[in-house]
């Protein structure tokens, strides 16, 4: 696991009020029961930590070009944005 992935999982665990060990890359986000406020706080934490802009509209989560379906999907999407920034 990359350091980026590790950090992302820590952030998700923090917002979901879970222990790190409770999450795997296969964990579905809807299983975490994040409410709408926790979702926007999660997105904000990812943006601030990695200095990226995540396309996300709470009126249509999932419709934006950013896969939030599982922990692994978020890791991949954030890593994609981070590498775009570096490019």
């Amino acid at each position: 696991m990359t350091q980026t992935a590790q950090t992302i999982i820590e952030i998700i665990a923090d917002k979901a009020l879970l222990e790190l060990g409770d999450l795997t890359t296969d964990t579905r986000l809807d299983a975490l029961a994040l409410d709408s406020l926790a979702m926007v706080e999660l997105i904000f934490a990812l943006e601030e930590t990695f200095d990226i802009s995540v396309p996300f509209n709470a009126n249509d989560p999932g419709k934006d070009d950013f896969d939030l379906s599982s922990v692994g999907a978020i890791v991949q999407a954030v890593e994609g944005l981070v590498s775009q920034k570096a490019a």
Binding site: D35, S36, L37, M39, V40, N57, A58, N59, D60
Partner: protein, 400 residues
């Protein structure tokens, strides 16, 4: 208990600088939302808004006023000027002692706060404008209207987020009905199209990038507006005795709290507010001809409100529309501006359309008078406001 009537109305919003321009835009289905024009707009991800255009404050206020009035207060005063002029009221010593003003505003003078923070934080200045405090007070608009017209009775501001002006008008209604005052100026004002204000809204991720589309399946959130509307609420006998033109009667009001969530609405709260207002007006659901919906264009509100309206009115509800796609969400001032759509429905028999509507959403009401105004015989109109934090306020009006 006294009957309460409306004898004057004034406004400024993205559709126009007065009531006739606003009503004409409602009837024509013209929208006021467009490209946002404020400093640093290129650093915002949301760049559309229902902005008041071509407003030159120096044309309306003297130098003293210009240094004292935040944009919110300017809008409130300008609207009050129209409303008082239309009412024909002269506030002499006796009436002035009893008359008052209640306005809704969610935040107050945000432009003033924004400017002062920019000065000290961004520009490194060590002083701000000396009148920053009296400009930014949420109650500044109330005080300046009181001073302008010599209103020395009850005067205060109400802050309940997006329901502020409905709460304000509801309280004004109750005061006149109870005989506490023969005349109350009431409504609401908001001017938060500032860089800091919009940054705050961006953070919630509920803003549409292009357009507000209430009740449409492809809606993507709200669009901010700004402006004000102020009305003269008057004791019916007082208005009749002086031969005033009566625009409509205010017949019912209810407010309640969801006690549920700081941003997500509840069906129960919306249902109780609408039923409460009908009960207060001693009307049955079947007697309502038009509902001006809160209709923000967010996923959450529009489904919630549709469900609540069906619960109160059954599967064949009265005509419903949201004008937020025309003037934007004016936050604390929005209920007051939307009251104008109710006045148009009652007086002209024209329902303001829900602009931006493209695609039915089976979870929402299916006929929301999409995109084009419609003729209808309206005797009773209801106007809804369901604010963040679950604070609900609903008013009912009747044609005179």
């Amino acid at each position: 208990m006294h009957r309460v009537v409306i004898t004057g109305a004034g406004t400024i919003n993205a559709l126009g600088h007065d009531v006739p321009a606003t009503i004409a835009a409602f009837a024509a289905g013209t929208g006021g939302i467009g490209a946002l024009d404020i400093p640093d707009v290129d650093r915002l991800s949301i760049r559309v808004a229902g902005q008041v255009r071509d407003w030159t404050a120096s044309e309306h206020f003297d130098l003293r006023g210009l240094s004292l009035y935040d944009r919110m207060t300017q809008f409130a005063l300008w609207s009050a000027r129209q409303a008082v002029a239309q009412s024909g009221l002269v506030f002499d010593e006796a009436l002035g002692l009893q008359a008052g003003v209640i306005l809704g505003t969610a935040v107050g003078g945000l432009g003033t706060i924004d400017d002062s923070y920019r000065a000290v934080y961004a520009e490194g200045k060590n002083r701000v404008h000396p009148l920053t405090v009296p400009r930014l007070m949420a109650s500044a608009g109330v005080s300046h209207i009181s001073m302008t017209y010599g209103l020395r009775g009850p005067a205060f501001s109400v802050s309940t987020a997006c329901a502020s002006s409905n709460h304000a008008m509801g309280l004004a209604f109750q005061m006149v009905r109870a005989g506490a005052s023969p005349v109350m100026l009431t409504g609401g004002a908001e001017a938060m199209l500032t860089f800091g204000g919009l940054k705050a809204w961006e953070g919630l991720r509920v803003m549409a990038a292009d357009a507000c589309r209430p009740f449409s399946a492809d809606r993507s959130g709200m669009v901010q507006g700004e402006g004000a509307a102020v009305f003269v609420f008057e004791n019916h006998d007082h208005a009749r005795a002086r031969g005033a033109e009566i625009l409509a009667e205010v017949v019912g009001f209810a407010m309640c709290s969801d006690s549920h969530d700081i941003v997500m609405p509840s069906v129960d709260g919306a249902v109780r507010a609408m039923r409460g207002a009908l009960s207060d007006a001693r009307l049955d659901p079947g007697q309502v001809d038009y509902i001006n919906a809160h209709g923000t264009g967010t996923k959450a509100n529009d489904v919630n409100e549709s469900t609540a309206i069906r619960a109160v009115f059954g599967d064949a509800p009265p005509l419903v529309s949201s004008t937020k796609a025309a003037h934007g969400h004016i936050i604390g001032g929005t209920g007051a501006v939307e009251m104008l759509a109710c006045l148009m429905a009652l007086r002209d028999g024209v329902i303001a359309p829900t602009l931006g509507y493209r695609k039915p959403d089976p979870d929402c009401l299916l006929d929301v008078v999409p995109n084009t105004a419609r003729r209808a015989d309206v005797t009773v109109a209801m106007t809804n406001a369901f604010a963040f934090g679950g604070l609900n306020a609903v008013l009912v009006l009747r044609r005179m």
